[in-house]
């Protein structure tokens, strides 16, 4: 099975929410269609973080907010040596955090 990060498109006003919400933020409707999100986008902002929660066994990680091609934004990890605001990025679903045997998958963005 292909793992993916999904957006939720309101059946009434078509607004896509990410992450899932119970009621649409724009129109208040309560029914959504899961939709795939574009993997291409541009980097809005980022940070290299050195004080990590205990289950990260690395010195630092880079986090960013990416605006996808359809305008939906997401927070994700970056694997980019010298990130720049506005740069084009391409996302892939990978393991982003592992606590014991629990693997959390999320979006990781690379330079495009």
């Amino acid at each position: 099975m292909q793992l993916d990060i999904l957006g939720y498109q309101c059946k009434k006003c078509q607004t896509i929410s990410y992450p899932y919400r119970t009621l649409c933020r724009k129109c208040g409707h309560d029914a959504f269609d899961p939709v795939p999100l574009p993997k291409k986008g541009k980097l809005l902002t980022f940070t290299q973080l050195f004080t990590l929660p205990g289950d990260f066994e690395v010195n630092d990680i880079t986090l960013g907010i990416v605006e996808l091609e359809n305008g939906v934004r997401m927070t994700a990890q970056l694997k980019i040596d010298a990130p720049k605001m506005g740069m084009a990025v391409q996302g892939k679903v990978e393991v982003v955090r592992q606590a014991g045997y629990d693997k959390c998958r999320g979006m990781v963005f690379y330079p495009r």
Binding site: L44, L49, P53, G64, V96, G106
Partner: protein, 391 residues
């Protein structure tokens, strides 16, 4: 609505405290009860964020009301993240204003140093969205880092401006015996010298160590009451004249404009409006500077300075102790410390001292209107309070 006054105050040092959470919460309450001469209250609110998770203490308010021998008064624990303190004061305000209670004791307490810094940072990070933020390693410093980068790009805020907030607030804390950090710092030491990279390492680029508040234990208390009760204490009359609260999206990436903090703007406007004041009426303010950038941006969102000009006012000294609008005279979260559940009550404590004229060497002369912003999450739940000195 009835008018609500401050009948008594108390505070612990913000530092590492090796006492049970219940006793930490009770100590400033004891001080406030002694100061006010009150022996009975109608209700107690205990503000706390992490007792259940990091101290194994749930039901804090029930334990504190008993510890103080104040049963059978009603008691509730209030949790609103790092804005728990101001939220509890808001609840206390509503209880007295509505006529339901005459005397309400609000104590905010936190004992976060029971765990190490990384565990404390991780515990605070549970405020973020569980699968759209937290799993990636998002922490509050990382959200602040990304926010800072946007402001540096758009408004030309520089690392020097950020460091100026830290230098100012560490300086103010030198006059506050209850502050966590009694450590004067200089731009030379944390920015310009050869040792600056060692003294002030990167935490969440572009934020460095001295851009971030410490992890503190501590507690603070205000007793809120009717005018009649407060007058009997013989203390200067300070009124809690305005409260405001607003929320924003949990995920920072969902904000319409990631450069803005609309919940700060909304909460601040409400509290000033209720108090019948304008931003220019405020004589002294305690803003939630968990990260240096926040003091700058909040000072704009509250209407003290134009958007994008908070850092310029700071550089001109307008927010210093002798400036036009002194901000964070206590040392702020940056140097006074940030015991999360206690912070909002601690901010109010400082404002009451200032309006009573009891702030010692950090006293803002003739202060009559004081104001606080207590920031829960990364700006997704903000409570603002306005206090006025009455005759």
């Amino acid at each position: 609505m009835r008018e609500v006054y401050v009948a008594g105050i108390g505070i612990t040092s913000f530092t590492r405290l090796e006492y049970p959470l219940v006793e930490i919460a009770a100590y400033p309450a004891m001080m406030a009860l002694k100061e006010s001469g009150l022996r009975k209250i109608d209700h107690l609110y205990a503000a706390n964020m992490g007792g259940g998770r990091i101290n194994g203490q749930t039901g804090l308010a029930s334990a504190v009301v008993d510890n103080l021998g104040l049963t059978p008064a009603g008691a509730e624990t209030i949790e609103n993240g790092p804005a728990s303190g101001a939220s509890a004061l808001k609840e206390g305000f509503m209880a007295v204003a509505s006529g339901m209670h005459d005397v309400v004791l609000v104590t905010g307490a936190e004992r976060m140093r029971a765990v190490n810094n990384l565990e404390a940072t991780d515990f605070v990070a549970t405020l973020t969205h569980p699968y759209a933020e937290y799993i990636y390693g998002v922490t509050l410093p990382s959200l602040a880092g990304m926010f800072t980068r946007l402001h540096m790009d758009r408004y030309k805020v520089t690392p020097r401006h950020l460091a100026m907030v830290a230098v100012k607030n560490h300086g103010n804390a030198m006059f506050n015996p209850f502050a966590h950090l009694h450590q004067p710092i200089t731009l030379e030491g944390i920015l310009d010298s050869e040792d600056a990279a060692t003294n002030n390492p990167v935490v969440a680029d572009p934020l460095r160590f001295f851009d971030c508040c410490p992890v503190s234990d501590g507690a603070a208390c205000l007793i809120l009451s009717t005018a009649e009760v407060a007058r009997k204490t013989g203390k200067p009359m300070v009124r809690l004249s305005g409260v405001g609260q607003a929320t924003d999206t949990l995920c920072v990436h969902e904000r319409d404009n990631p450069l803005e903090l609309p919940a700060v703007r909304g909460a601040a406007a409400q509290s000033l409006k209720m108090a019948g004041k304008k931003p220019s009426d405020v004589d002294v303010a305690e803003l939630h500077d968990a990260f240096t950038i926040l003091e700058i941006v909040e000072s704009e969102e509250c209407g003290f300075f134009k958007k994008g000009e908070g850092h310029l006012a700071l550089a001109k000294g307008e927010t210093g102790l002798k400036g036009r609008l002194p901000i964070n005279t206590s040392g702020g979260l940056k140097a006074k410390g940030h015991p999360v559940g206690a912070t909002g009550v601690g901010q109010a404590h400082e404002i009451v001292l200032q309006l009573r004229g009891e702030a010692g060497e950090r006293q803002v002369k003739g202060a009559k209107t004081g104001f606080t912003v207590n920031f829960g999450g990364f700006g997704n739940n903000v409570v603002s309070l306005c206090f006025t000195r009455e005759k």
